[in-house]
């Protein structure tokens, strides 16, 4: 089955065409036939990039004014006689859409029925920047591919199993009932995927595992997974809370925000931009939001690059220990995302000092693990440390296949 996976932003569409089936999922053998993106939608110089698996990347620039034109262009590219990977649009069997916010309504991925779409629209106030773009992409794809099933896969859905003690804030309760202010968490598809892969690798059923998954990319979050269910996660009502991220601040005393707003005479927009785009690794180091560049700068003796990395690892270490406490123990800690999969020093520095709870990394194994599945634990460790590359598009394709086949989601 060929699933077109779409991730629509306000002026961009990222896509992959993935060949998958229930059998391929079981064998972990499903794969992308091609991937691409259309950027700068709405301009006369939109850029369409596409790479078929095993072939060179091609780039087109042309006028693409709305998501619908972008979708049409994507199908033309996929079915292009020389560059393409399918004979025609009819070869696409289903479409999987990445949706940012499913609120409390979506506890799993769902087929895009009119009722489901209305429910996503109801979640717009919770994600005013993302859900409208996601919906626009969905509507465009529905028009162009009206006869195939469309599935909605939410960043928030996996975390809906969190109990109230974990998802509520210490605010007046009425804010939850009136405005749905609570922790939702994000990166749900990624945490779910690496949780599942780690159970396969450990050879243990979900009932016997307590996992802490660390998704460390430009955005980052930690998740406590008990019995296969998310019981706590570090991102909150918006994707600012928790870990220090590339450009986002993570946990912060709200009192500091109001002080800064007055002291620097900032507008609400300036403040929001500061917390989202000028903070985190970038804000602390003054060098970069990119962990690779920071590690290089640190090696050359840059003090604040070192400080930023230290703070990143320190915050993560606190969360790992806290989530072990939440679950009354832990069987494995999993690193994923661009930083988690590749930055071995970050992995090592984030678990240092946690030997007391059985967590210990083998330095040689850790240094060797980059971008592939690996067990980097020391021989004497009672808690495994795993590296598992995530693949959010693959998860979206798999959920789509399972929904179409009526199979259970893992």
């Amino acid at each position: 089955m060929k699933v077109l996976v779409l991730n629509c932003g306000s002026s961009s569409v990222k896509y992959q065409l993935i060949e998958t089936s229930l059998e391929a999922i079981e064998k972990n053998e499903d794969h992308a036939l091609g991937r691409g993106s259309v950027e700068r939608i709405g301009t006369a110089a939109a850029v369409h990039t596409f790479q078929a698996a095993g072939r060179d990347k091609v780039t087109d620039s042309k006028e693409i004014l709305e998501h619908r034109d972008a979708l049409a262009d994507i199908l033309r590219m996929l079915a292009h006689p020389e560059r393409g990977v399918i004979a025609g649009p009819a070869d696409v069997d289903a479409v999987g859409h990445r949706m940012v916010h499913g609120g409390e309504r979506f506890t799993a991925s769902a087929l895009a029925t009119p009722e489901a779409i209305r429910a996503v629209q109801d979640c717009v106030p919770l994600a005013p920047l993302h859900n409208p773009s996601n919906l626009r992409g969905y509507e465009a794809a529905r028009r162009i591919l009206p006869d195939v099933p469309h599935a909605l896969v939410f960043d928030t859905a996996y975390h809906q199993t969190m109990p109230p003690v974990a998802f509520l804030y210490g605010l007046p309760y009425v804010l939850y009932t009136r405005h749905a202010v609570r922790r939702y968490g994000f990166h749900g598809t990624s945490h779910r995927f690496v949780g599942w892969r780690s159970r396969v690798l450990l050879g243990k059923p979900r009932e016997q595992t307590r996992l802490i998954t660390c998704h460390l990319g430009n955005g980052a979050s930690v998740c406590a997974i008990d019995h296969g269910r998310s019981v706590d996660t570090s991102l909150g009502f918006t994707p600012i809370e928790g870990l220090i991220m590339g450009t986002r601040c993570g946990d912060l005393d709200p009192g500091a925000i109001f002080h800064v707003m007055h002291a620097e005479d900032l507008s609400e927009h300036q403040l929001t931009t500061m917390l989202n785009k000028h903070s985190g690794l970038q804000g602390i180091s003054g060098v970069s939001n990119d962990m690779r560049e920071l590690l290089e700068a640190e090696a050359k003796g840059h003090e604040r690059a070192k400080l930023a990395i230290d703070m990143f690892c320190y915050r993560l270490r606190k969360y790992i220990a806290a989530y072990a406490g939440v679950m009354g123990g832990v069987d494995a800690v999993i690193f994923t995302g661009g930083i988690g999969e590749n930055a071995s020093p970050v992995r090592a520095r984030s678990v240092v000092g946690l030997e007391f709870m059985g967590l210990k990394i083998d330095p040689a194994k850790n240094a060797a693990a980059a971008g592939m599945e690996a067990d980097v634990s020391a021989a004497e460790a009672s808690v495994r440390t795993l590296v598992i590359p995530t693949n959010e598009e693959l998860i979206i394709a798999r959920d789509t296949v399972r929904l179409v086949a009526g199979a259970e989601q893992d």
Binding site: G42, A44, Q270, T273
Partner: protein
């Protein structure tokens, strides 16, 4: 209809602010200036505006680059071909505005809407000299266009409904709230604020209270963010005087008679923020607070 490219005539204070707002909304901007030197100066100040916003964490370096990349300058009206709408922000002078629009009328498609940004002149009169009166509409943006959430859209006598709706669509693209105004001197906001500013000056002139105390009182009493006299300084005393004179002449109503203190200060060159001195002292964009009692109280908040 989605906006992809806008033409702005005039790269001055308002023109730059508008260009910045429009470009940061993802729309290409073609700015028309009178000379290469003026265009270069305008662009340099635009860069300074963006740098200041970056220093306040409002945008990132890549957003600055993207915004600048969408703004192009030209001195030939033919460069405006291809824009979907024209906004003129040239100096407040009837014949200047009319001749600019007339020139553009000759090179642009007849269905392109011309927006005039006048705050005091008659949209009807500007339109009458433009060659396409039914496709001329007024849009009164507040400074700074990047921050303000309001725009008054002004119908001249000949403005068509379709033209008005085009202006409303443009304002929505910029995420501004719109009020519909039927042309009348001062529209709504200018007409309402001027007597208020004028009255604050009278209070100072009559020795009833100090400038600091007048501003402090009105800010605290009515939750204004800025007091009327500081606001006058920010607008420029000469500009306020010109508006008052205009309304007074146009309508002949005593309530628009400019406060004599205002006229006197303008004659002395105390024009407000841009001159470093008005009702208060200024250094660059910031008030200088020299330990005057009211100022000290305020900075201690």
């Amino acid at each position: 209809m989605e906006f992809r490219k806008l033409g702005i005539v005039g790269g001055g204070f308002m023109g730059r602010s508008l260009a910045q707002k429009v470009a940061s909304s993802g729309i290409d901007v073609q700015v028309l200036e009178v000379s290469k030197e003026r265009a270069e100066q305008s662009r340099a100040e635009l860069v300074a505006n963006l740098d200041a916003e970056m220093a306040k964490w409002g945008i990132t370096a890549s957003e600055k680059k993207a915004t600048l990349g969408r703004i192009r300058y030209a001195t030939d009206p033919k460069a405006m071909v291809g824009v979907q709408m024209i906004v003129e922000v040239v100096p407040e002078d009837l014949s200047t505005k009319q001749s600019v629009l007339k020139k553009l009328d000759a090179v642009l498609e007849p269905d392109i809407v011309f927006v005039t940004s006048t705050s005091t002149l008659s949209v009807t009169e500007i339109g009458a000299g433009s060659g396409r009166p039914d496709r001329v509409v007024g849009m009164h943006f507040m400074h700074a266009v990047t921050m303000s959430r309001l725009v008054e859209i002004v119908r001249g006598t000949a403005t068509s409904n379709q033209t008005f709706e085009r202006a409303v669509g443009f304002a929505k693209t910029l995420e501004k709230k719109v009020i519909e105004v039927f042309e009348y001197p001062g529209y709504v906001v200018t007409r309402a604020i001027l007597p208020f500013l004028n009255e604050a000056m009278h209070i100072v002139m009559e020795g009833v209270a100090s400038a600091d105390d007048v501003d402090l009182a009105l800010k605290l009493a009515y939750e204004f963010k800025v007091g009327p006299l500081e606001y006058t300084d920010r607008i420029g005393l000469d500009t306020v005087l010109r508006w008052m004179d205009h309304l007074f002449r146009e309508l002949g109503d005593m309530k628009y008679r400019p406060c004599p203190l205002l006229r006197k200060m303008v004659r002395a060159g105390y024009l407000g923020r841009k001159a470093g001195r008005g009702f208060f002292r200024w250094q660059g964009h910031e008030r200088v607070r020299d330990g005057a009692p009211a100022g000290a109280k305020e900075s201690g908040r």
